[in-house]
């Protein structure tokens, strides 16, 4: 079951303080990277909620992000909504779509679940790609950023935008953590371990899965809004299944089912991508090698590795005592 151990809380505090501090000292390039990390971080929080805790490995989260981004842009550009209502609408729409996907896929598990989500993702991709409403291959531009001038904040400034992005990550994390500590979150973990038994105890399994998927999808949609606001240009590539695959890599790299780990994974992934791709175009290969090393180490990702070390360190005195007794 999900808990906030001291190590996790400390890590969160360091991440929050570190990223905010960095937002104030970074140059333009650094702030672009921060925003990119934030978008990925929200997406992987969403994915870890269902995949890491609920065992529902999804290959449509990239598409959900894309749906959020497109819904936001269309709502703002064509429906004439201002940025905040457009965001709310986009998040609600993505969430509703996710509920449907979750409800339909609820009956399948394992590889079949993955394939079913992939199929939904591909459907969304081709829909957006082919529909003239969404600009097809050319994509759409002109997504607005929220106008916070009333409180003296100008989000067109990249520093303000980076801070705003970090705050959205904090919000997404809080939503995911609260969900995991709710009745639904407890059931979600139970489902992962033994769906059959939970049903025999009286849980309406499909509804629990669909609701969890809807919350996760809402967060993915939020990541999509942020992505659209960041680059102010979106293309169908956002909905590609490779985005989902990449998100899954980040979750596993950071620590599946730890919620804190994927945040570390997002930072690591984006920084590695930029650092290594500056040296060699084969950065995917390097990330691949790191991923294999993480998986082979049998640790729950980078954060799982840290947690295991931390537990071992705490356990040490006990072992010594036992030896002294003997």
């Amino acid at each position: 079951m999900f808990t906030h151990s001291p190590l996790r809380l400390t890590t969160l505090a360091i991440l929050a303080a570190g990223s905010l501090a960095y937002a104030f000292v970074a140059g333009f390039y650094g702030m672009e990277i921060l925003a990119e990390i934030a978008i990925l971080a929200i997406l992987v929080i969403a994915l870890d909620l269902v995949a890491g805790f609920g065992g529902m490995v999804s290959l449509c989260h990239g598409a959900l992000l894309g749906v959020g981004a497109y819904a936001f842009t269309v709502a703002a550009n064509d429906a004439g909504l201002t940025a905040l209502p457009a965001m709310l609408l986009a998040v609600a729409l993505t969430s509703a779509l996710s509920f449907l996907i979750g409800a339909v896929c609820a009956r399948s598990t394992g590889i079949y679940f993955i394939m079913a989500t992939l199929a939904f993702g591909q459907m969304a991709y081709s829909f957006v790609f082919q529909s003239p409403l969404f600009g097809g291959d050319d994509g759409l531009s002109g997504a607005p950023r929220p106008d916070l001038s009333a409180v003296g904040i100008d989000l067109t400034d990249s520093r303000a935008f980076a801070v705003y992005a970090i705050l959205l990550v904090a919000f997404a994390y809080a939503v995911a953590a609260a969900t995991l500590r709710s009745g639904l979150g407890r059931s979600l973990v139970g489902l992962h371990h033994n769906e059959k038994r939970l049903r025999a105890l009286g849980l309406t399994v499909w509804r629990a899965k669909a609701t969890a998927f809807a919350i996760s999808g809402a967060l993915a949609g939020l990541a999509g809004c942020l992505a659209a606001q960041h680059t102010q240009f979106i293309s169908p590539g956002l909905l590609s299944w490779t985005v989902s695959g990449e998100a899954l890599v980040v979750v596993i790299l950071g620590g599946l089912g730890t919620l804190v780990g994927p945040l570390l994974g997002a930072i690591l992934f984006v920084v590695l991508k930029h650092e290594i791709s500056a040296i060699t175009p084969y950065w995917h290969a390097i990330v691949g090698v790191i991923l294999i090393a993480v998986v082979m180490s049998r640790a729950k990702g980078v954060f799982g590795f840290i947690e295991a070390r931390w537990e071992a360190r705490k356990a040490q005195p006990l072992v010594k005592e036992a030896k002294a007794d003997a």
Partner: protein
């Protein structure tokens, strides 16, 4: 508490359940016995809702539940244990019992509070843990404890729903086929506590039915 009328079930040409009518009164304990292939599992699965009978009805506490699914019957107070331990591995014993109690109390889908912290659930966990002798192990992880403790938890989970009727399943064994079930102290002396404890290596039957278990007053 639990009643079937003229239950029938066929698999293709083979009629397995042939007009079974049984009645379980409050406080009663009944055992389903029969040689291999007699249809015990088939009957059990119809009672819990995993398979639907071809005809006949199943009533739980006066209400017709024949058309209800597994989860719906569970919410009406029908609880079951499994022949092979079916636990939430990777969680602690406390979490296992807490989850069962939370779901049974209808808190399994809530968003605004942690059911594991609710007084009702904690109280249930404490009571059930005492009932099946698990109090000292509450914070142990299920995959780290012995078979015997896991077996106790299997029954504990079924009890944590505060059921009206519990369908208890034990393993295969020859003893019962020879009709010597009265040698089993758990059945002779009664008391679920005995069942919960079990004994290793004992002959066992397929399914037991217990009615109006524990403190249930209905």
């Amino acid at each position: 508490m639990l009643e079937t009328r003229n239950l029938t079930k066929s698999f293709g040409p083979i009629q397995v359940t042939k007009g079974v009518s049984l009645k379980l009164e409050k406080g009663e304990r009944r055992v389903i016995l029969g040689p291999n292939g007699a249809g015990k599992t088939t009957l059990f699965n119809q009672l819990v809702g995993e398979i639907t009978p071809n005809s006949g009805t199943i009533h739980l506490d006066g209400a017709d539940v024949t058309g209800l699914r597994v989860a719906d019957r569970a919410r009406r107070g029908l609880s079951r244990s499994y022949q092979k331990n079916t636990l939430f591995d990777g969680l602690t014993i406390r979490e296992n019992l807490g989850l069962a109690a939370a779901v049974a109390l209808g808190k399994g889908q809530g968003l605004w509070s942690d059911p594991l912290q609710s007084p009702e659930v904690r109280e249930t966990v404490r009571e059930v843990a005492a009932q099946v002798d698990l109090a000292p192990y509450l914070d142990a992880r299920v995959d780290a404890v012995s078979y015997g403790i896991r077996r106790q938890l299997e029954v504990g989970i079924a009890l944590a729903t505060r059921p009206k009727v519990i369908l208890h399943r034990t393993g295969h064994g020859s003893g019962l086929r020879r009709g010597r079930h009265h040698h089993r102290p758990e059945l002779r002396r009664g008391g679920l506590r005995r069942v919960a404890r079990g004994r290793q290596g004992q002959p066992a039957s397929e399914g037991h039915l217990f009615g109006g278990v524990g403190r249930c007053s209905t």
